[in-house]
Symmetry: C2
């Protein structure tokens, strides 16, 4: 099967994957010919991401379909000028590839007007994999370079509503996952992490915004946006308002007082966009600014960008609890390869970085642009073999995971408790 | 029009209204013949109560339709034995006419097992009329005779969702209405009044129960129960869970700790039953006891039991802010009369207590059974004229309203605040 899959992509081989892609170039998943045809079947919503292409989702098409804007060279340059630093590799490489109103945020920043960051996680299990860290790694960088407050929503209520979990289990996962999030290095003085189940009952402002949003969204609308049916629970049907509410600053009176006009910037994977399309539609009708967004591509499963990572399949990704040995075995054994079937063929025709999962993972985690580009060239030409590529990835992932585990060990219950306590944050707004 | 209405009820006149009705007799609105035919069109849900009969809703039919049980002579006697006191006139006269599982509550009481009371109000305006007091007058009596804690929900979120109100207006009405409720004489040590908008953000237990309920109710179900459509807001669609949640004791951890098994007794008008049918359906599926219920009939508008009282029409009822003079004018001018067109006819054929609003009001507010029965006989025989009947009602209502106003004046902001602060209540549970 692996063979036939590889064969079927020969046709697309002519087109090279660009490691340093966003400046004007198509996003990583974009392609013409075979891939484009297959991409017609892409499906993306908060619960399902489906593509039949080993290159993954066609993100340029998604931008058109979702009506967002591409993060182009010009925007990346503007960010660079605004912060006076090299943009994060996720921006340089089109991993965060789409946005809404990011220019507004930069206007605000340049005019010394406040904004804040909001991201989140659905705590469906204790097991988090490296892919789950993408929005958090990027959000931490945004917090550092812009020096702004951040709220992180743990949607334990959502997971309770959607999964076969008890409230206590969902809440327990929220706290466990918070530890992995904290281990990404967020500033405790500028970051508030909250469980919905907890915070709804602890904030005078949050529920009021939830009800405001709920008044202005009909079942017809959530049916259209999320595909809910009459058989869905009223909890699911009304949940989108709960994910929307943190987009408005007065949901956090302990941080922003009664200010309703501090704009929000939401870094998230593009599958979460439907929630925020709804939020942006409601915002002006309830007198609040629309949140801005930065959208990331999806992190591919080890078995290939068209397969699903699954917490219940330990071999589908690198988990944050994996040992160095497990990482090595998983990459060597399960990372889908864009290489040829024999060393001879590989040397002659070269490998395909567009479908090679090891290479994809390196675009996420290898900081050095020049080295990444060299790897791309060498693998494509056939100078580098699959085993050598995998070895590089293993050497990148092993210390990354080990360091994460070390930082997570430092996260005591007291630290989690402080992050999750509604409180003032320190920030520079006038 | 008045004449033609009166004429059309001649047919039903043979049947006398029983002032002291419940012991085995049909409920007040019940009748055969013409009334029964018209009652086919009765419509009752939390937002609409419609009947074309001047006698009001056919309550016996409603019991069958809703699947509740009649409060019969036997149950009233059992309550009397349990509390060692004369039952409230609302029980003696079938004003509270229907129940669910009241025998379970009495079993619990007789076995010294705890239970608690829950009632509520939708604060749609500042203007409350005497009809709004019915559940509170009765609940206060229940609190006194059973000596149990009581929670009163002000559904300001509901009113915000359904009406053209701001959150602040809805909350303001909740606080104003709470003053009228407190003026009914509730025990501050045993009563917790809460605004949903407030309490949702102040209780660790309430939202958790709301989500639990929301997980177990589908849109199909609320569509069937409440008639919601796809064009309704997701706030309306999920609201029933919020009215359901106070039926479970762990929604009030400050009162009941984490006890989930303290049974709840809900006195309310029968139009609220759909919420609690839903609640009773969900309860066993989330491991909680079903709440018991006591249902009241509707308080008729001055213009007749088939018309609607409206806060925007000051002449449709006696308001709690009315002066003695306004009361006199309203009763004399607007209270629909079951009397004949001329004194001569009235003396000869007698009046009809079944449709006479002044007489209906007396069944609610005149404590003396013998005197009420004498009035019924005299008015029916023609010995008592309409003016005399209205005079009696005015003399009952004027001091009742004046005393209410005096008690309300005593309700300071501090007292309201204490009633509305989540806190321990004093009660005797072991």
């Amino acid at each position: 099967m692996l063979l036939s899959l590889k064969m079927s992509y020969k046709a697309a081989m002519g087109e090279d994957y660009k490691a340093d892609c966003p400046p004007g170039n198509p996003a990583p998943g974009n392609n013409s010919g075979l891939g484009a045809t297959e991409a017609e079947e892409d499906f993306v919503d908060p619960w399902t991401v489906q593509t039949s292409s080993a290159k993954g989702i066609d993100y340029d098409k998604l931008i058109v379909r979702f009506g967002s804007s591409k993060i182009d060279k010009e925007l990346v340059n503007r960010i660079e000028r605004a912060i006076g630093q090299k943009p994060h590799r996720f921006l340089r490489r089109g991993i965060f590839f789409s946005h809404r109103d990011m220019n507004q945020i930069l206007d605000a920043y340049e005019n010394k007007k406040p904004f804040y960051l909001y991201t989140g996680r659905g705590p469906s299990s204790e097991a988090m994999h490296v892919g789950h860290l993408i929005p958090f790694i990027f959000t931490k960088w945004l917090q550092d370079v812009f020096n702004v407050p951040l709220v992180i929503q743990m949607t334990d209520d959502e997971k309770y509503l959607w999964k076969d979990l008890t409230l206590d289990q969902a809440y327990g996962y929220a706290v466990e996952n918070a530890k992995d999030i904290i281990a990404c290095g967020f500033d405790i003085n500028k970051t508030f992490i909250f469980s919905d189940l907890d915070y709804m009952g602890a904030s005078p402002g949050f529920y009021k915004n939830v009800v405001k949003i709920q008044k202005h969204v009909t079942f017809n609308q959530v049916k259209g946006i999320f595909g809910f049916t009459d058989s869905d629970s009223i909890g699911k049907i009304s949940f989108p308002a709960i994910q929307a509410a943190p987009s408005f600053s007065n949901s956090f009176p302990q941080i922003f007082g009664d200010k309703t006009d501090v704009q929000c910037l939401i870094p998230c994977a593009i599958d979460q966009d439907p929630y925020f399309r709804m939020t942006r539609d409601v915002a002006p009708r309830i007198g609040y600014p629309k949140p801005a967004l930065l959208h990331s591509t999806f992190f591919p499963a080890l078995q290939g960008a068209q397969t699903k990572m699954s917490a219940s399949d330990p071999n589908s990704s690198i988990f944050l609890t994996d040992t160095a040995k497990q990482i090595k075995t998983k990459v060597n054994k399960h990372a889908f390869s864009g290489g040829r079937d024999t060393v001879e063929e590989h040397r002659e025709f070269g490998g395909n970085c567009d479908v090679d999962v090891s290479f994809m993972y390196l675009t996420f985690f290898l900081e050095d642009d020049d080295r990444l580009e060299q790897i791309r060239k060498d693998y494509t030409s056939g100078a580098m073999l699959t085993g050598e590529l995998k070895k590089i990835l293993i050497e990148v992932l092993q210390p990354l995971i080990a360091e994460h585990q070390a930082r997570r060990k430092e996260v005591t219950d007291e630290i989690v408790k402080e992050f999750m306590t509604p409180r003032k944050l320190s920030y520079d707004f006038q």
